[in-house]
Structures are given as structure tokens and as C-alpha cells.
């Protein structure tokens, strides 16, 4: 048994927990990955689950003329995948459509 008063208080315990529980962290992460050769893949993680990602991907595919899909991830929820480097496109599109505020976007990659 531990004596509660002697426990050190960790003021960041909540913060750590919540940042790990809540993988979304309020940000939409746009990443790029290299595939074989010069092909690349753009992933969009952290879109609110209230949105219908299937519809979004359908619109994006048409708009950017690329293929895309929605992947269900146990930790990160539904993730958008688009072929090619669509980071610019998707960022513009998401902000223009009002789905995501510009400051919520976090673009990764080179």
C-alpha cells in the first residue's frame, strides 16, 4: 500500500494521458510516404469522425484526379489515403470546404 500523501504529484499526468488517449490532439496530420520508385502516398489522419470520410474521399478523388481510400486504424480511427503527393491539394480543399481550420492542419514530410 502506498501512502497517498507521499506520492509525488505529477501535474502533467492528465496531459500525458489525454494526449495519448486522444490521438486526434485536435490536429489533422497530413503526411507523405514514399512507395516503391517515385510513387508517393498522402495520408490524412485526425479528421473528425463526425464527417463521412467516404464522401470526402470520393470528392477528393474526383477533384485531384487520384485514387484514394479510407483506412480504419485501431488507434488513429479513420484515415484518408490518397495516391501521390496531394498535401497541397488536400490542405486547400479541407480549408476551402470549411471542414478543417487552417491552424488545425499539420503538414509533415519533406
Amino acid at each position: 500500500m502506498s501512502i497517498q500523501n507521499l506520492n509525488t504529484f505529477d501535474p502533467f499526468a492528465d496531459a500525458i494521458k489525454s494526449s495519448e488517449d486522444d490521438v486526434q490532439d485536435g490536429l489533422v496530420h497530413v503526411r507523405i510516404q514514399q512507395r516503391n520508385g517515385r510513387k508517393t502516398l498522402t495520408t490524412v489522419q485526425g479528421l473528425s469522425s463526425e464527417y463521412d470520410l467516404k464522401k470526402i474521399v470520393r470528392a477528393c478523388k474526383k477533384e485531384f484526379a487520384c485514387n484514394g481510400t479510407v483506412v480504419e486504424h485501431p488507434e488513429y480511427g479513420e484515415v484518408l489515403q490518397l495516391q501521390g503527393d496531394q498535401r497541397e491539394n488536400i490542405c486547400q480543399w479541407l480549408t476551402k470546404s470549411g471542414l478543417v481550420k487552417p491552424e488545425q492542419l499539420k503538414v509533415h514530410g519533406f
Binding site: 500525458i16 510516404q33 514514399q34 517515385r38 495520408t43 489522419q45 483506412v71 486504424h73 509533415h108 514530410g109
Partner: protein, 308 residues
């Protein structure tokens, strides 16, 4: 596309020539010499020697970047306090000539440069004289009246004091942060070597593992440091791309978020990283490095075989 273009030999040559001109034009004679001698030797040493083309290419690129966007600007900035002629960089700079200024963004540097040019044209004394006058004026206002300081006055006062105490900040209020460019070489078709990775970690005073984690998370790939202390990254990356990522790393994990001084310590505290500034004493938490969602890009059959 980019890659192809850069690996096109004809383009390469053009670029090289151009940089030569730039160098001559932009830099004083001694400097030009020192770079041209220094740089190739070094790239030759550290880079993989088998592939001359890549070496050249790398070299050329480096030159170009250095000379064009950074160097002139940075030299200008640095040269400012002592030497009025903008074209000629300070002698000190010669030593670090091969270095690349990884200051965060171009737009800002450019803006600043403009400002500074104005400063430059107007003799330095003028600026300072004005400042002092301002101080006096403000003091004068307060004498004999019991009114409160207005916010603007306080602000002005604080900046005046800052400028007075830090003459080096007068021009830009920006800390210089010079480091060598990353040496990036392709290995075969699928891997990239970041040859001076360890060296850069040392320059930045950061654990190689931390920078490694960040690079790999940002590039969405895997990699490791090999026996020659170079970083081998899976995938094809160009120097410019690595540089961009490095720049972002520096912005988030090296330079102080308050005063932009690079003189900082990164401490791990209860699983969060804190950036402690040695210059202004500010301390703030920095984003933890997460690679986040990783799409399956390899051969699915192979992965299935592994997990099954």
C-alpha cells in the same frame, strides 16, 4: 520529377556554372577560394566516393543554395554592424563559409534583409541617435507629470533598452544560427545516406536518437545510423528535402520559441520534452514526436507472411 531534373547531367552542369558565377559575384575573393577548395574536399571525404555524379550534384546544389538565398542575405545581416558595404562579408564568416544558415524561413529573412538594407543606407548612428532621443523624449514627458506610462511608451522603452544592451540585436533582433548543410547522397535506388548526421546532431546539441526519431517520423520511413555514423534512410530523398525537415526540427526543438536563441537545452521531464532557453530562461514544452498513422506501402504478402 524534381529528382529527374536534377539528375539530368546537362542541368547539373548549368547549375554548377551558375554557382561559380554567383560565388565570384557574391563573395570576396578569399572566400570564393576557401569554399571551392574546402567544399569538394569535404564532400569527397564524407560522401560515398563511388558515385562521382552524385557527389558533383550534391556539391553543386549545395553551392547554389548557399550562395544564392542564404549567403548573401546572411552575410549582409552579419556584416551589418561593422562593415557597411553589403557585398563584402566579414572575415570571420570565411571560416564558416561552407556552412548553411538553417534559419527558419526565407520569407522572414528576406523581409528582414530589406529592413536592414534601409538601416544600412541610413548610417547606423542615425538609428541609434533617434532611439536615444526617443528615450529622452519619453523621459522628458514623464518628468514633472504624474501621468501613467502608456502602453506604447512602455513598449518603446523596453525595446530601446533591449537595443541599447544588445547592439548586435539592433539590426535584426534575430539570432544567427549557422550550421553545415546536410550531406545527402543516394545509395542505390532505394536508400539515402545522410552522411554528416552525427555531426549535425553535435552542432545542434541534440541526441542523435531524438533527431533520428523526428526525421523518420516526418519522412514517414525507416532508417538507422550505420558504423560510419551516417544515417541510412529508406527511400529517395534529396538534400533540399532533408534540409526542410531539419529546418523544421530546429524551429521546434532547437531554437527558443520566445527569443529564437539556439542556445537551448532539451530536457525530458515526465515523458514530455521541454526546451529550456539559456539566453532568456524561458521554458516551454515541445511537441512530442509521433510518427502517427503509417500506411502499408511494402509488399502485403511479405507482411502477412511475417505476422502469420
Amino acid at each position: 520529377m524534381d529528382e529527374d531534373m536534377i539528375f539530368d547531367p546537362s542541368l547539373k552542369k548549368k547549375k554548377k556554372k551558375k554557382t561559380g558565377f554567383d560565388m565570384d559575384a557574391a563573395l570576396a575573393g578569399e572566400q570564393g577560394e576557401s569554399t571551392s577548395v574546402e567544399a569538394p574536399a569535404e564532400t569527397g571525404d564524407v560522401d560515398l566516393p563511388e558515385d562521382d555524379n552524385l557527389d558533383l550534384d550534391n556539391f553543386g546544389k549545395k553551392k547554389k543554395k548557399k550562395k544564392k538565398p542564404f549567403f548573401n542575405l546572411e552575410e549582409l545581416e552579419n556584416a551589418l554592424p561593422e562593415t557597411p558595404p553589403a557585398e563584402e562579408p566579414e572575415p570571420q564568416e570565411d571560416e564558416v563559409i561552407d556552412d548553411l544558415d538553417l534559419d527558419i524561413d526565407f520569407s522572414k529573412t528576406k523581409k528582414k534583409k530589406k529592413k536592414k538594407n534601409v538601416d544600412e543606407i541610413v548610417p547606423d548612428d542615425d538609428g541609434r541617435g533617434e532611439d536615444q532621443e526617443n528615450v529622452e523624449d519619453v523621459h522628458g514627458d514623464w518628468i514633472g507629470s504624474d501621468r501613467d506610462y502608456t502602453y506604447d511608451e512602455l513598449l518603446e522603452r523596453v525595446f530601446d533598452i533591449m537595443r541599447e544592451k544588445n547592439p548586435s540585436m539592433v539590426s535584426g533582433k534575430k539570432q544567427k544560427f549557422v550550421m553545415r548543410p546536410p550531406q545527402v547522397v543516394r545509395i542505390g535506388t532505394k536508400k539515402t545516406s545522410f552522411a554528416n548526421f552525427t555531426e549535425i546532431c553535435k552542432t545542434l546539441h541534440r541526441q542523435p536518437k531524438h533527431l533520428l526519431d523526428f526525421l523518420l517520423a516526418e519522412l514517414g520511413t525507416s532508417g538507422s545510423v550505420d558504423g560510419n555514423s551516417q544515417l541510412i534512410i529508406k527511400g529517395r530523398f534529396q538534400q533540399k528535402q532533408i534540409e526542410n525537415v531539419l529546418r523544421r526540427y530546429i524551429k521546434e526543438y532547437v531554437t527558443c520559441h520566445t527569443c529564437r536563441s539556439p542556445d537551448t537545452i532539451l530536457q525530458k521531464d515526465t515523458r514530455l520534452f521541454f526546451l529550456q532557453c539559456e539566453t532568456c530562461g524561458s521554458r516551454c514544452s515541445v511537441a512530442s514526436i509521433k510518427s502517427g498513422f503509417q500506411a502499408v506501402t511494402g509488399k502485403r504478402a511479405a507482411i502477412r507472411a511475417k505476422t502469420a
